[in-house]
């Protein structure tokens, strides 16, 4: 095996472009999954089977099927219905939707972990439902779920290369393009492999620091 440093330096400008797109997908996808996940978790607590059953079935379906096929579905089917987004937007929506079905379970666990006494106290103080949620339950639940949500952000980072399949030029997409143009596969693929390890390691360090701060 020969290692060509000049290929690495040629690839670096493309690498930075790709990293930027990857981080963009990660940030937007995370925000979408945090919001949608909370919406699903709250809908699952509506005391009506007509709401919980469809929401439960759809999220279970999305959770148990491959993100790659979901990406293809959104990328090819939406234009048939005359809805067109850019590839990047489609990717962000797909990844955010997929992960919202995971974050929903995290929120649910966080809400269930709020002691029953807190609910009773809210009832005793005659707080309206809305205020019980916004001032009593959610602040305590969300504090508990931050570390678990962070884990899913790291998972999501490792799913961003899938967007390459729908023509988004994130890190892996840039590496593949560069490889095909220059017939040098080893260097770009190794560079992005190492980049993924470094970024996810840094993210897990940041997460551990955040967890320690929240614990006090």
């Amino acid at each position: 095996m020969e290692w060509d440093w000049s290929a690495v330096s040629d690839f670096m400008p493309h690498f930075w472009d790709g990293l930027l797109v990857t981080l963009q997908i990660l940030v937007l996808g995370s925000l979408l999954s945090f919001v949608l996940g909370l919406v699903w978790a709250l809908l699952m607590r509506v005391p009506s089977r007509w709401v919980t059953w469809p929401v439960g079935a759809v999220t279970e379906f999305v959770r148990n099927t491959p993100l790659l096929v979901q990406l293809f579905f959104l990328f090819y089917v939406l234009p048939e219905w005359n809805v067109t987004f850019s590839a990047l937007t489609t990717g962000v929506v797909a990844i955010g939707l997929h992960y919202s079905t995971y974050t929903m379970q995290v929120y649910r666990a966080g809400i269930e972990a709020v002691p029953a006494g807190q609910w009773e106290a809210a009832t005793a103080l005659n707080l309206p439902v809305r205020r019980t949620w916004t001032a009593v339950v959610l602040p305590q639940a969300i504090r508990r779920v931050v570390p678990a949500l962070g884990n899913y952000v790291i998972s999501m980072l490792k799913d961003t290369p899938l967007l390459m399949a729908i023509t988004v030029l994130e890190m892996l997409g840039e590496a593949r393009l560069f490889s095909q143009q220059n017939f040098q596969f080893t260097e770009p693929l190794t560079v992005i492999g190492v980049a993924f390890i470094i970024v996810s390691y840094l993210a897990s360090l940041a997460l551990r620091a955040l967890e320690r701060r929240l614990a006090h």
Partner: protein, 237 residues
Amino acid sequence: MTSGLWELVLEGVWVTIQLLFFSSLLATAVSFVVGVARTHRLWIVRFLAGFYTEVFRGTSALVMIFWVFFVLPPAFGWQLVPMWAGTLALGLTYGAYGSEIVRGALGAVDPAQKEGGIALSFTPWQRMRLILLPQAVPEMIPPFSNLLIELLKGTALVSIMGMGDLAFSGNLVRLALQESAEIYTYVLLIYFVIAFLLTRVMRGLEKKLKTGVGKAPVREPDTELKRPETSNVGGAA
């Protein structure tokens, strides 16, 4: 859809199932070897096993697949059949996640059990085989069940490399029909059915193993919050 196209889809299902079977075997083997190595008394063994886990968990499964398909052949002068390349990439990546499950379950066995083994002068291997593993394995089944579903979703990644699995045959049918809503709905449904069956099988297995050690399967509501770091698989779709 014509029957010829359905045949194509069925071939894809068969490839997906084969790939799932082989890579889950490899992933299980890797999980146990690396997971047990992380409880070894020599620090160098623990360090190497930990290093393996960090590297393979840190990178994306799809990047790993690209690496096995494009970097290994020129580097070593041989090329793997796509099925084995896919098995290798998926098995090694998911094995790293599985090793965390094995390590966690071994660590959760009551320390008194291990001390009892030492007091009875069992060798380390006997302690592992006769005391720790029989109690730890039933606890591993629910997380392994989740990991198996993630692995099933991960098998779709090989379609990007042109391997004829279910996701790939879905793309072929889309090109043949020039219409995507129907075929992708079917493909998603097939994946969902496979995942559902796997969950059922694993639940049955858990029940059987737990009866063996006199426990009942429990579903704790807050296991989600107690998950070890990134126990959910990234890079898997």
